[in-house]
Symmetry: C2
Subunit: 230 residues, 2 copies
């Protein structure tokens, strides 16, 4: 499958690597290729600069947001939540069209220090804002509730955990589910919560996720929903 990934940060890189391993054709999109390629050194997560990283991932292409959105039959939003709507507008409504858009972003505002606050919550969500802004697209929220390495390697945890899906289009959710299963997620561990408004629930898990990260001193954790009793 030809997949366009918006965003070149740790989430975009991690998803791109996995998709390339799975033999998909991947184009990552960035706002300004020259600026992105001019970066040197490691980022805050200890990852190499994009130009270095591309040398080790030669099958992955780099394009602009609009080139990436045009290239992909299936799109992934891996930009920071605060800039997602703008990035998608730059990518272009015509390029996004009626494609499936897997939205991994979180509306976190780090500008006032740690812990971040949410730029939208409670009565709305970033996923809904994206769906409203691009009404023809098929937005599916998923993977936003855990650290990038675990998104594509759920088996790194000692037992199966859960991942959530929110979206209006059942065909699009079936496509995303298939992709998640190719990443290693079990069918039964993927919880379809319903329409896109249920993303209010998954996005609002971030405030506890962030604090658990501090308490546990590692981002390598995930939620497991244990059901039982009578």
């Amino acid at each position: 499958m030809k997949i366009g990934i918006l965003g070149t940060g740790v989430v975009g890189q991690t998803i791109a690597e996995k998709l390339a391993q799975l033999e998909h054709q991947v184009m990552m999109g960035t706002r300004d290729k020259q600026t992105t390629l001019a970066k040197t050194g490691k980022d805050n997560f200890g990852r190499p600069a994009v130009s270095e990283w591309l040398k080790n991932n030669s099958k992955i292409q780099l394009g602009t947001y609009s080139e990436s959105a045009s290239f992909g039959e299936f799109l992934v939003n891996a930009t920071s939540g605060m800039v997602s709507l703008d990035a998608l507008k730059v990518a272009g409504e015509n390029n996004i069209g009626n494609k499936v858009l897997l939205d991994i972003s979180n509306p976190l505002d780090f500008s006032k220090g740690m812990p971040p606050t949410l730029t939208v919550c409670n009565t709305d969500s970033l996923a809904e804002q994206i769906q409203r802004t691009f009404p023809k697209s098929k937005v599916v929220k998923s993977l936003n509730t855990l650290t990038a390495m675990l998104m594509v390697n759920p088996g790194l945890l000692p037992e199966p955990t859960n991942i959530f899906m929110n979206g209006n289009d059942s065909g699009a959710k079936a496509e995303v589910k298939k992709l998640l299963m190719s990443f290693g997620w079990n069918d039964n561990d993927i919880i379809d919560m319903g329409d896109i408004s249920t993303a209010r629930g998954t996005e609002q898990i971030l405030p506890i996720w962030i604090r658990l990260w501090g308490t546990l001193q590692t981002p390598m954790f995930n939620f497991k929903i244990v059901v039982g009793g009578k």
Copy 2:
């Protein structure tokens, strides 16, 4: 221990029953005893009216909010989040004093239908509002992230799950932890997330809890934080 529980709903009743079983002296507090005692039939959760329930729980006393707060050496806020601050004001700052106040309430607004929204979130929490309103009290948020029956019977689930604690006073958190352990929670499964502001995280888990309740068609579930990998 003498324990005052504000609120006579399903949470208040469930906690009161457990505490009475554990040989604590319990007084439940309500806004207006006559109104509460005049209720008949079953509530929305299929529980008997308070007057019926008291006949089967004869060791548990019923008082006003202020009588209950005065009676207890340790207090529990089991009122609906939307009325918690008002109920605590009626209970009286002098009666609350510098006691430990276990806050189980959730700031859920059901007035606009399902799913409810939060009356406070993101940059504040109900637990913080209570702590600010009663600065001498030692507010500890806990137990608000699961259904009442599981609060006092975590072993009903097929495997250990997690419970969170938020509060500024470490002595108060130690007292609450001891109580939680007497309810059946394992030491290692109680996660102390830090000061009372971390309640923003646990209160904002409710939007996903509510939706999971709908998806799973049962409230008998809880979150387990699975940690691992390198």
